[in-house]
Amino acid sequence: MTAAARPTPAAGARFLDPAVLARIGNLELLARTVVEGFITGLHRSAHFGVSTDFAEHRPYTPGDDVRHVDWRLWARTDRYHVKEYEAETNAACTVLLDVSRSMRFASGGRVSKLDYARYLSACLLYFAQRQRDRVGLVTFDAEIRTYVPPSGRHLPIALHAIDQAEAGGAGDLARPLTQVAERLRRRGIVALVSDLYEEPQVVRDVVHRLRGAGSDVIVFHVLDAAEREFPYDGPARFEDLESAEHMPVVPEYLREQYRELVAAHIAALGTLLGEGGVDYRLLDTSRPLDEALFDFLTARQRMARVR
């Protein structure tokens, strides 16, 4: 499997709408529904993650599995040789899930940002498990709330932790993620799922710290459509979900300036993170999860080429 063979999202299976997914109570079932559907759409082997790339031959020695004997080479040379393959990557995949209070936001009947992030995290972890990767999970707001270290057997624990995750206190990226960076000693894939209400420079610094451990970092920026469009009408008192501060706002007069500021923020994030070699993906809570999964797949493949 190569990057050239990467399927387009349009060719993917019919991903379910996040609002529909919200009706599935079991996270594992949800993840399986999404991921199996995604893979079916790829028309690929179910054992996608296992490396089958040929490395070299070596002479058979008693005790080797006879299934690995290269019979074609025996027919040509009349000697028993065993095929050697490239080693399985077995990368550690860690999802960093932001559970700060701002993630509770939902508008217009959509799923909340937190729910969307939870589905995404569950899918990512399930998908990684299917690749035989070790899976780990960190939930955080201003502190690390739960930490499930990467392990091949930790998927149920991680899914349970995701299931139990609730929007907590005020958010902060720098402090908890610096701690995470210190704990991730082995290289792997790190997926950061957050609404990134932080200065782009701060985000960049944190992400670079994660990359410093050699991990491949994907940043999923989860935003509700209302956060970008600001579709409010009539004067209202706006309350900050995290700090509980109030502010009287006449949306008609602020909308344009707000949109510009948010767009500039997103653009700055994309630019700064891209310059640092970090994948940045903006996710709208109304869109299916496939785009996120493709990005993850791309990163997984990059990892797979690393011995």
């Binding site: 936001f105 209400y197 706006f238 309350e239 979900l241 502010m247 009287p248 006449v250």
Partner: protein, 691 residues
């Protein structure tokens, strides 16, 4: 500031509409939970505030537009602009102190209390205040000149006593209106010290005090003394009769009890100071009785009579005075046609003899037997159906009329011309015969004293009489036709000769030419003709205070001299009031005497052969004895200035005229236009900023 149509101001309440909408919109402002205010905080807050301020300005402009519209429709105008340039302190008052001095103020301790209340007002005066003290009853006049110092006013107040007049609030309030209208003080105050009699206010007085005038009523009537039994001798009627040819009078006095309890007492009749009779009387609560005294022979000349009641709470109205004289018994001479049956004038003589007001002593004599001496006694001569006496008798008759005698001539078969007739009678034509269809009296001078009695419906119809024959009268220009037949011919003509009157009837007062004596109207008609011809104006035994008396007419009436002479004004009269003051009447001042106090006035001619002194009895007006109370609010409400009467010259104009002159509504509309333009500009700017 006044308004022609103040109801339109209510439309200004529509201002509440945009404000309410504004508030509702603010109410609708709800809390929106938002993930982070990170970006919102970066937007300059002032811009939001400025937008809001602009909104408030827009709201204010719209409200202002509505108010201006309502104001313009209410047609405002400014009042009393002169008040702005006064030099007196802003709270200086013009106090008009009106003190009731009607005779009801003599009840109990009302007068001392009134004085005390007035003194309190004087004590309460401040620097810059000006006080005008006025006593009022039926009239009102300042007792001290305007601007007098408090000490002078106090002296006048202490010296004053209740009078004999009746309470009338209207003249007093009109005086206050006049004083306040001329005042330059910014505040007006009317203090009314009175016992608040209801009888003094008919509610119709057109008095409007200047706007903002305080009307303060100081009630000095004691608790309950308004309902106490109070017996009043209200009026007297003198019933005359002849007993053995002696004229007697039987006074009948009407007694009124104004109290809420029955009153018992006595009524004593005195003539010329001599007590004659005493009656015990009981008058029910709020009722009246007539106390009839027995007939009493009249002394010669004028007799002064009094009816005195036992004293009660209000003594002033317990004495009723009257004047009675013998002269009221009149003689009449009926001249019948020569050779006619003696009974030909029976109807006439009998009808005259029936009269009681005045009683007539009638004698009938045939034309050819009339002697000049017969004309010395009577005050009335009736020539019935025959020619006027001629010769010396005729001349004597003419003189009799010129000197004030009354003459009634009824034209019959023997009417003659020449002699006295030329002076006394209009031209007389031939006999009109209406045998086929009898003539009737078709039109009369309904307002004339003779016919006033028959004016109202069912009180006698002269048209029922059938007249077969009458003589045609051709009245001169100075004659007055009082009645006409249905063919337009004069039926009754009046001619004034000297001081006397002549009434000429075109048909005789017997039943030869007509059936008039058989009609019910005959007796009253004869009495009316006799009274008018002889100048009898009825008994006037007494007057009430406040009346004006024409002494000339009064003397003529009570002396039985007939109508007053035309040149009466040239005769001078001397009048003496009960308190002894004398006044000269007549000439340029007229012969009218104002009767202010109670008691007997006395009038006499200054010179001439008439030496008689004519007494005039003056009593209080019984209406004042009614102590029923008036609600002071009635006065305040009735005098409150509705449309803004005015103290200053600017306000002398009627409000519509002021409004028309000032045209403030026009400026309101101009301001409205400016506001609307400003609103449109601001609104445009705001919506552009929003878009």
């Amino acid at each position: 500031m006044g308004f022609l149509a103040p109801l339109f101001l209510a439309a200004a309440a529509a201002v509440a509409l945009p404000i309410a909408l504004h508030l509702l919109q603010r109410e609708r402002k709800q809390t929106v939970e938002f993930p982070s205010l990170m970006f919102l905080r970066r937007i300059p807050y002032q811009s939001v505030r400025r937008q809001r301020l602009k909104h408030l300005a827009l709201l204010a402009l719209r409200c202002l537009a509505l108010v201006l519209l309502a104001l313009a429709f209410a047609r405002p105008f400014l009042q009393g602009r002169g008040a702005l340039i006064t030099t007196t302190p802003s709270d200086a008052r013009e106090v008009v102190l009106l003190v009731d001095r009607s005779y009801s103020m003599a009840v109990g301790d009302r007068w001392p209390r009134a004085q005390a209340a007035a003194r309190e007002v004087l004590d309460g005066l401040r620097d810059g205040d000006r006080v005008t003290l006025a006593f009022f009853d039926a009239t009102a006049a300042p007792a001290a000149p305007a601007g007098s110092d408090a000490a002078t006013v106090r002296t006048v107040l202490d010296a004053a006593r209740p009078g004999a007049g009746v309470t009338r609030y209207a003249p007093a309030l009109r005086l206050a209106q006049q004083v306040l209208g001329e005042s330059d003080r910014p505040r007006g105050e009317v203090v009314l010290v009175t016992d608040l009699q209801r009888a003094g206010w008919d509610g119709a007085a057109d008095v409007r005090l200047p706007m903002g005038t305080a009307v303060i009523t100081r009630d000095v009537a004691g608790d309950g003394d308004g309902g106490a039994a109070n017996l009043t001798a209200a009026s007297v009627e003198l019933r005359r009769e002849l007993v053995d040819d002696v004229e007697q009078v039987a006074p009948a006095v009407r007694l009124v009890n104004r109290g809420d309890a029955p009153a018992t007492g006595t009524a004593t009749l005195a003539l010329n100071g001599r007590t004659l009779q005493t009656l015990a009387v009981t008058v029910p609560a709020r009722g009246a009785v007539v106390a009839a005294f027995a007939p009493t022979p009249l002394p010669p000349g004028f007799a002064r009579g009094t009816v005195t009641l036992a004293p009660d709470a209000l003594p002033v109205d317990d004495t009723l005075r009257f004047v009675v004289s013998r002269g009221q018994l009149r003689s009449a001479l009926v001249v019948a046609p020569t050779g006619a049956p003696a009974r030909s004038s029976l109807y006439l003589t009998q009808a005259l003899a029936l009269g009681a007001a005045p009683p007539w002593r009638v004698s009938a004599v045939a034309r050819d037997r009339v002697r000049p001496a017969d004309l010395a006694g009577p005050t009335l001569v009736v020539v019935n159906g025959t020619a006027l006496p001629d010769g010396e008798t005729g001349r004597r008759l003419a003189r009799f009329v010129r000197e004030g005698g009354g003459l009634i001539v009824t034209l019959g078969a023997g009417a003659a011309e020449g002699g006295a007739a030329t002076e006394l009678l209009p031209a007389v034509g031939g006999v009109v015969r209406r045998e086929a269809r009898a003539a009737t009296v078709a039109s009369t001078e309904r307002t004339h004293p003779i016919f006033a009695l028959f004016r109202s419906p069912r009180s006698g119809d002269l048209a029922t009489a059938q007249v077969q024959r009458y003589r045609l009268i051709r009245p001169a220009a100075t004659d007055r036709v009082l009645a006409r037949f249905d063919d337009g011919a004069p039926a009754l003509v009046e001619r004034v000769v000297g001081r006397g009157r002549v009434l000429v009837l075109a048909t005789p007062l017997d039943n030869s030419w007509n059936d008039l004596p058989l009609q019910p109207v005959f007796v009253p008609l004869v009495h009316q003709l006799a009274r008018h011809a002889s100048g009898w104006s009825g008994d006037t035994p007494a007057f009430t205070t406040g009346e004006a008396l024409d002494v000339e007419r009064y003397a003529a009436a009570v002396s039985g001299e007939g109508v007053a002479p035309v040149d009466a004004a040239e005769v001078e009269w001397l009048a003496r009031s009960p308190d002894g003051t004398q006044a000269t009447l007549g000439g340029p001042v007229g012969t009218s005497l104002a009767l202010a106090g109670t008691g007997f006035y006395e009038v006499r001619r200054v010179e001439g052969r008439d030496e008689r002194r004519y007494p005039v009895a003056v009593n209080v007006d019984p209406a004042e004895a009614d102590l029923a109370r008036l609600d002071p609010a009635a006065l305040t409400v009735a005098t409150a200035s509705g449309a803004g009467a005015a103290r200053m010259d600017a306000a002398a104009l009627a409000p519509p005229a002021q409004e028309e002159r000032q045209r403030l509504w026009w400026w309101a509309i101009v301001a409205l236009l400016a506001v609307v333009i400003g609103e449109a500009t601001l609104g445009n700017r705001l919506s552009r900023a929003r878009g």
